[in-house]
């Protein structure tokens, strides 16, 4: 008797992952760890906001748009104040932006030059040692730059400022001053910040310039391009968005810099120094907080938290934009 057996075809099975309890616990701990940055950021925002809320309610939007710092009798009107404080940090905010933009103006060309020299010009051993120096400078503490600014740079920068003022102030009104004293100016703070952010911008630019596809470079050379023509038409356009992102990372760092600026800038809260970069008055939110914090009354501490909130939001937005730009540039390569 012949029986034909149906061949057994096994059904495709669905793969189901049932994780053990230990793995579930492990994964949820990891999720918690992953979310920690978010928790910390919202915690910082929340604490800054809640602490400064009474002052912000009292001063309203003018806290960010006026230039005053007068504590009066250190009481709010609802606490029975006779001599109410007047608070506004616009001069400081504008000062932060002014010195940081100045720093960018100085730092970006130097950084691009450095990055191009490292990636497309210098022989290998020079490039390596230069990269090492740039990384090392990134690790130098900001207080040492502050000492440098106050001790080494100040005498020189005063001479440069004087020269700029006497020779160029008529053509460029930004070099004009009211008083012939050139110390502690936004110009000086800008130079100090520039040196501090050059390593940041350089390392981003170096990475992007170094990742230009070889085909593009050799293609340009095959078409007869000289070194500069190749760099101008291939390397720089390719790295443009990376450099912009790196510059914004540097901007974020410069906006938040505290002690180095504190040593080299004369903070004036009552008056906005719009563009006179050689004038011995300026502002920086971070340095302002540190300069007032030591002797602040409880109300003033709350107001300083308001200033901190403004700085936090400003740097966060700058950095978020920078991150997006840099990531986009990285993904494209």
């Amino acid at each position: 008797m012949i029986t034909t057996q149906e061949p057994k075809v096994s059904e495709p099975r669905e793969i189901v992952v049932t994780r053990r309890f230990s793995d579930k616990a492990f994964r949820s701990i990891l999720i918690l760890g992953g979310l920690f940055a978010f928790i910390a950021l919202s915690g910082i925002f929340g604490y800054l906001f809640i602490t400064s809320l009474p002052v912000l309610q009292y001063a309203g939007i003018s806290f960010f748009t006026d230039s005053f710092w007068f504590m009066g009798d250190n009481l709010l009107p609802n606490q029975g104040s006779i001599d109410s404080p007047q608070l506004g940090i616009f001069a400081m905010l504008w000062g932060s932006i002014l010195i940081s933009s100045l720093a960018l103006l100085i730092a970006v060309p130097i950084s691009v030059g450095l990055a191009l020299a490292i990636t497309h010009f210098f022989p290998k051993f020079l490039s390596r040692s230069l990269t090492f120096v740039v990384d090392l400078v990134a690790a130098v503490p900001s207080i040492i730059f502050g000492l440098w600014g106050a001790y080494t740079l100040a005498p020189h920068a005063q001479l440069w400022a004087k020269w700029l003022n006497t020779n160029l102030s008529e053509t460029f009104p930004i070099f004009a001053v009211d008083f012939q004293y050139f110390g502690q100016s936004p110009f000086m703070a800008g130079i100090v910040l520039a040196i501090m952010i050059i390593p940041i911008i350089t390392s981003v630019a170096r990475e992007i310039y170094g990742s230009v596809p070889r085909d593009l470079i050799t293609g340009a050379q095959a078409l007869g391009a000289s070194r500069w023509t190749m760099i101008k038409n291939v390397v720089i356009p390719f790295g443009a968005s990376g450099v912009v992102g790196g510059a914004m990372l540097g901007l974020g760092r410069a906006l938040g810099e505290t002690v180095a600026v504190f040593f080299v800038l004369n903070l004036v809260t009552g008056d906005v120094n719009w563009f006179n970069i050689l004038e011995s008055e300026g502002g920086s939110v971070a340095s302002f907080i540190i300069s007032r914090f030591g002797e602040a009354s409880p109300l003033e501490v709350q107001a300083l938290f308001g200033a901190g909130l403004a700085l936090f939001v400003l740097t966060l937005v700058t950095n978020a934009l920078a991150t997006l730009i840099v990531n986009k540039a990285r993904r494209r390569r």
Binding site: F122, V140, I198, F312, A320
Partner: protein
């Protein structure tokens, strides 16, 4: 990292005339610049550098145009410009480091490393007292901060590399955003949470919290980079042996990345060791040794430098330079440690 492909011309021997012309132009220009500087209105080093820069632009382009080896003028200009950027940067760096080493070494005495400042008043001679309390305070606060931020940083990195869940881009974005938090904001936050609320006074613990906020992004990003380098084969092999994910991570992934994780910790330390602003708000400063991180102000090197420099008298400023020197040496040690460990990791 020179990417540009070199054009090899083996048929052309090195031309002596070309070499001579280059030597004359590139070495002669500084002398010409010096001559001009001395004989005209420019003065000092800055004047010399400015003259040299512009003069070299001219001479280098002339060399390219009329020398034996012809080349585009723009090439010469580019080379002079980028070299000038490098020289300007190096000059600034030297001028930053030179006084620290010069004034620091000049005034440094070995007993500074061990003695505290309880017997020193304003402008006391440097033969008395020292910065040992600040050095110990820096080591304590930074050590505590590492203790807090290293585990959390590694967890955040493990989420990205092991769980690979839907939140991954958000986690990375927020870690990145956190790296932009200004140091003073971290100080304000720690102050608000722990000091203003009356839980603690100025202390090393609060300072460590502030520092660990600044440290976390560096640790997390570096740890993520090194965990990514662990091959997926290792993970699959561990799971195929029947291990749970937790065991695979603990016994395979983490040990494989161990020295990379040490690098992450060291880079985090390098990031915060010189921070001043948050410490002024949280650790404040002290004239004596304070061994208890939970209670009482504690001195650290950066705040010590800050306060001594602001005192402004001759000997106090000297003390600030000595402390800056010690701090810089500390940074140098941490930096070279990071280099050594990470190069070992790359070899392994």
């Amino acid at each position: 990292m020179s990417i540009a492909a070199k054009t090899h011309k083996p048929w052309r021997s090195i031309d002596k005339t070309v070499l001579m012309q280059q030597l004359i132009v590139h070495l002669g220009t500084p002398f010409l610049a010096m001559f001009i500087t001395i004989n005209t209105g420019f003065s000092g080093y800055s004047g010399f550098l400015v003259v040299w820069f512009f003069l070299h632009l001219v001479t280098a382009s002339l060399l390219g145009k009329f020398g034996k080896r012809k080349r585009a003028v723009s090439d010469s200009l580019f080379e002079v410009l980028s070299t000038a950027a490098v020289i300007a940067f190096l000059l600034f760096v030297i001028s930053v480091l030179e006084p620290v080493f010069q004034l620091g070494l000049e005034n440094f005495q070995v007993h500074h490393l061990f003695e505290d400042a309880k017997d020193t008043g304003v402008d006391t001679s440097l033969d008395i007292g020292g910065l040992g309390h600040a050095l110990l305070g820096t080591l304590m606060t930074v050590g505590l901060a590492t203790l807090f931020s290293l585990p959390i940083g590694i967890l955040a990195a493990l989420y990205v590399t092991e769980v690979r869940g839907v939140l991954t881009p958000f986690v990375r974005f927020f870690v990145q955003a956190m790296s932009g938090v200004p140091s003073i904001i971290a100080g304000l936050f720690a102050y608000a949470v722990l000091i203003a609320s009356g839980i603690l006074t100025y202390s090393g613990f609060v300072a460590a919290i502030a520092l660990s906020i600044l440290m976390l992004p560096t640790v997390a990003r570096t740890a993520e980079e090194v965990l990514k380098l662990v091959p997926d084969d290792l993970r699959s092999a561990a799971l195929a042996l029947g291990g749970t994910q937790w065991r695979a991570v603990r016994m395979v992934v983490l040990p494989a990345a161990r020295s990379g994780l040490v690098t992450a910790a060291i880079l985090g330390i390098a990031r915060v060791i010189g921070e001043t602003a948050p410490l002024l708000l949280t650790a404040f400063g002290n004239r004596e040794y304070n061994l208890n991180p939970l209670e009482g102000p504690i001195a650290t090197l950066p705040t010590y430098i800050f306060q001594q420099f602001l005192l402004g008298t001759e000997n106090d400023v000297r003390r600030a330079w000595v402390a800056a020197f010690v701090l810089l040496v500390l940074v140098g040690i941490v930096f070279s440690l990071a280099r050594v460990v990470s190069s070992r990791f790359k070899q392994a």
